[in-house]
Symmetry: C2
Subunit: 144 residues, 2 copies
């Protein structure tokens, strides 16, 4: 997503495209690794324009309210954020605690029998509560 597109999506949501706000949004678009507010603050301050801690928090709040960003549910103290570019959910592994992005399928409402094979494969992982790596048979896994 290029600069102009980010600017547009901010303005479509009624947010002015300030340099600080743009920096937060752009960082989240580029790095979909669910950073904390502190990580985002650090990252945007490695280059101009600088931004204060309060502004970073304010902008994250505004972006979440506007629906462009969401707060990811994770264990641990610090909130983590995620640009909602392509719609997806999160899956947290029971064993290793990793947060994995999960494709979003627009399942037609009443069609219980119509889930595709690919979806079925993901369902298995979900009901085990293990991520793809941890769900491998014991032998092929590194001990942790």
């Amino acid at each position: 997503m290029d600069a102009e597109a980010i600017k547009q999506s901010l303005e479509n949501s009624g947010l002015r495209c300030t340099p600080q706000r743009y920096a937060v949004m752009a960082f989240l678009m580029e790095h979909n690794r669910h950073p904390t507010a502190a990580e985002i603050f650090e990252a945007v301050n490695r280059v101009d324009p600088r931004s204060s801690r309060a502004t970073t928090y304010n902008n994250l709040r505004d972006l979440v309210q506007a629906g462009l960003v969401r707060e990811v549910a994770v264990e641990g103290r610090a909130a983590r954020f995620d640009a909602k570019g392509i719609r997806h959910h999160h899956f947290i592994c029971d064993r290793c605690g990793n947060v994995e992005d999960m494709e979003w399928y627009d399942v037609p409402r009443p069609a219980s029998g119509s889930l595709g094979k690919r979806i079925l494969r993901e369902c298995e992982l979900i009901f085990r509560g293990l991520c793809k790596k941890c769900a491998l048979p014991r032998a092929s896994r590194k001990l942790s």
Copy 2:
């Protein structure tokens, strides 16, 4: 689960059954509403024996390490806890943010085609990211 059973499960995990630790565990067994540490601290201090804040945190840490309790992944600042009585996962609604307990199915490893109807119904909700209430057709939902 009665007092003796709780005592046993603590001791089986190598933890002494102290009054304070017992109180935390018993509270989590009774109230599976994913309370915060602060809520647990308050609750156990409404009756004897009293417990300090540090002890409550220590005991929660010990119980999590022992595998008797787990920390629930949620948005928001405060960690939330959950007794791992019956194995289950958590499902967080995209719309309302509620945390729902989700039954744990022991899906046999390679049988992609063998998920039951009940599981399929849950899969639909998961892939929508909405809880049972929020997944109802618009008309039958209260606006939030």
